[in-house]
């Protein structure tokens, strides 16, 4: 294994600033890879949410099968996602579909666990009032419980989003497209400027997606429910989550 020696600063940006790499027509051009990465990410998160959100709502609302939600959440945190992707691909063969399936499945635990936690965190008095006032069960869930659970639900979604972006990056090793391609190819060719381009772009993509999802969260979540623990309050004031759960949820899944 040769070690890439330290390269003079100017050369880092070589790949990034080479116009040839930005041409849309080229096979592995940066825009193409970027779009691929985005598509894999969004598809995986969307499908995973379609499965995990209703399931989490159901488990939270009925409080049956809580062990599934919590257990899967814990499992998801300790699973080495990289290994799982490679295992699947080794068993089934290289291709977009197996990897996408793996990405989707791996995104389910955080969404499921946080959605469940969100519903459980809802003020029981508010739910009692909702039922007592004459809301039907579906209305209680959708108009009362869900809006109150949104902060935690969103933290699960954002966690899953970042996890998928990261796993899709390393999945390039299993021949997936996306920006990870630049990293993996650059590594095998010993071309640091390509690696650098890939790393910077992946980092920027992740940061941007995180920022955008935070903006969506701010827009969707009612100001009355926003997590007040971020404000500096005295210890005696109860916030919706303890700092531990906060840390766990905001930053829970490995990248």
């Amino acid at each position: 294994m040769s070690t890439l020696a330290v390269v003079p600063m100017l050369n880092y940006f070589g790949y990034l600033f080479d116009a040839a790499n930005w041409k849309l027509s080229a096979d592995n051009s940066i825009p193409v890879l970027l779009v691929q990465h985005l598509i894999y990410t969004l598809v995986a998160v969307l499908v995973s949410a379609l499965i995990a959100l209703p399931l989490g709502l159901l488990i939270g609302h009925t409080n049956r099968g809580a062990f599934i939600a919590i257990g899967l959440g814990n499992l998801g945190r300790s699973l080495p996602t990289f290994g799982l992707i490679l295992l699947l691909v080794t068993m089934v063969g290289v291709g977009v579909v197996p990897v996408l399936v793996a990405l989707t499945v791996l995104a389910i635990p955080p969404i499921l666990a946080q959605t469940y936690a969100g519903i459980r965190s809802v003020d029981p008095a508010a739910v009692d009032a909702a039922v007592g006032m004459g809301m039907r069960p579906r209305q209680v869930l959708l108009d009362a419980e869900v809006p109150m659970a949104l902060p935690l639900i969103f933290s699960g979604l954002r966690s899953a989003l970042l996890q998928v972006v990261a796993t899709a990056t390393v999945a390039a090793y299993a021949s997936l497209g996306g920006l990870g391609r630049l990293l993996v190819d650059g590594l095998s060719r010993n071309e640091y400027d390509q690696i650098f381009a890939g790393a910077i772009l992946v980092a920027l993509l992740a940061i941007t997606l995180d920022y955008l999802s935070a903006a969506v969260e701010r827009a969707v979540v009612s100001p009355g429910v926003r997590d007040t623990s971020r404000r500096r309050t005295r210890g005696s004031r109860r916030s919706a989550q303890t700092p531990v759960e906060d840390t766990e949820t905001a930053l829970s899944t490995p990248r």
Binding site: D123, A125, A126, V127, D128, A129, A130, V131, G132, M133, G134, M135, R136, Q139, A144, P147, M148, L150, V221, S222, P223, G224, V225, T228
Partner: protein
């Protein structure tokens, strides 16, 4: 009128929360369910709007069996106020209040207008309407809870310890406001509390429950104080029943001595009036300054206040004033005691 007919609630596992309960809650009055923990008062309340279903027996509102109606629609016709308010944190105050009208299909603008009116009705400033519950104090949230229950103008209201979660001073204010509202609205109210003083203060009728879900006694506060059915009720109501009963009698029939009997005295405290005839204080021998009057009473005030004033005065007497605040009579402890004995004799005839 709400009627309980042999209602029983037995939970799986054997716990009987309510045992063969039969009683009537009169229309337009406040009936208070009171008792120690585990006596079934909250369970009974919740069976009215079917948030708990009875194991046997029937509950009817104005003759209609509640179990025969669609639960959700039934509840929209019953106001529901709970401890800690249970406001929706994700909705503004106005939208919280407008919840039931909106559920019933009322137009948003109309529902919000009515909500704003109700906000002022419960004693809050209209500007609070656009805020969120987490920006309001506990007492304010509780008022919003009441406004929310009133929004669809239901004939019946259920209130489960609505004032228990606030501090005593706020609670007192809320109770007074509540009585004022009720005098304007005349709803049929079922009110649960564990505080016998609150029950006596607020209830037109009070139902005392015993642990195990039995009704120990039901009657007006005066009846409970005067005539407890058994030791449990007597104990629950408290040892100072007699004194508390004074809160229900006014000073209308109380005979007073003329003011001059006290303004001319030299011993024990002399009453001092100002130029207009209003009482300013008691002059006590050996002291230069006047002892100010904590208050004076009018004919409409209760004997409890009068007795208290007499006790705290250096002359052992309370001063009565007329509508303009001018002293028109003085009454000594002994005279109050004689009056009470006469009242007691009269009521026993």
């Amino acid at each position: 009128m709400i009627t309980f007919d042999a209602v029983t609630k037995a939970f799986p596992g054997g716990n009987v929360a309510v045992d063969d309960l039969s009683l009537e809650l009169p229309t337009g009055q406040i009936t208070v369910f009171v008792g120690p923990s585990g006596c079934g008062k909250t369970t009974s309340l919740r069976m009215i709007n079917r948030t708990i279903e009875p194991t046997s027996g029937t509950i009817s509102i104005d003759g209609e069996d509640v179990s025969a109606q669609d639960a959700a629609l039934l509840r929209r016709k019953i106001g529901y106020v709970i401890q800690n308010a249970g406001l929706f944190p994700h909705r503004t105050i106005v939208d919280n209040i407008a919840t039931v009208p909106l559920l019933n299909g009322v137009a948003k603008r109309q529902a919000r207008e009515r909500a704003a009116e109700l906000l002022t009705r419960v004693g809050l400033d209209e500007s609070l309407g656009s805020r969120y519950p987490n920006q309001l104090s506990g007492g304010q949230q509780q008022r919003v809870g009441v406004a929310r229950a009133l929004a669809a103008d239901p004939p019946v209201m259920l209130m489960d310890e609505p004032f228990s979660a606030v501090d005593p001073i706020v609670r007192d204010g809320l109770q007074k406001e509540f009585l004022r509202l009720q005098s304007e609205l005349g709803k049929t109210i079922a009110f649960v509390t564990h505080d016998i003083d609150e029950a006596i203060k607020l209830g037109d009728k009070v139902a005392i429950f015993r642990v195990g879900g039995h009704l120990a006694q039901i009657g007006s506060p005066q009846e409970l104080l005067d005539d407890p059915a058994d030791d449990f009720v007597a104990d629950f109501v408290g040892r100072d029943r007699g004194f508390r009963g004074l809160g229900f009698v006014t000073a209308e029939k109380l005979e007073v001595e003329p003011v001059s009997a006290y303004t001319g005295r030299s011993s024990d405290g002399r009453l001092v009036l100002d130029g207009d005839g209003r009482p300013t204080g008691w002059a006590v021998e050996g002291r230069d300054e006047l002892r100010a009057l904590p208050a004076s009473f009018t004919k409409e005030d209760t004997l409890r206040l009068v007795t208290d004033l007499a006790i705290t005065s250096p002359a052992g007497a309370a001063v009565r004033v007329d509508a303009d605040g001018m002293a028109d009579g003085v009454v000594a402890h002994e005279a109050i005691a004689r009056h009470l004995t006469a009242l007691r004799r009269e009521s026993e005839r």
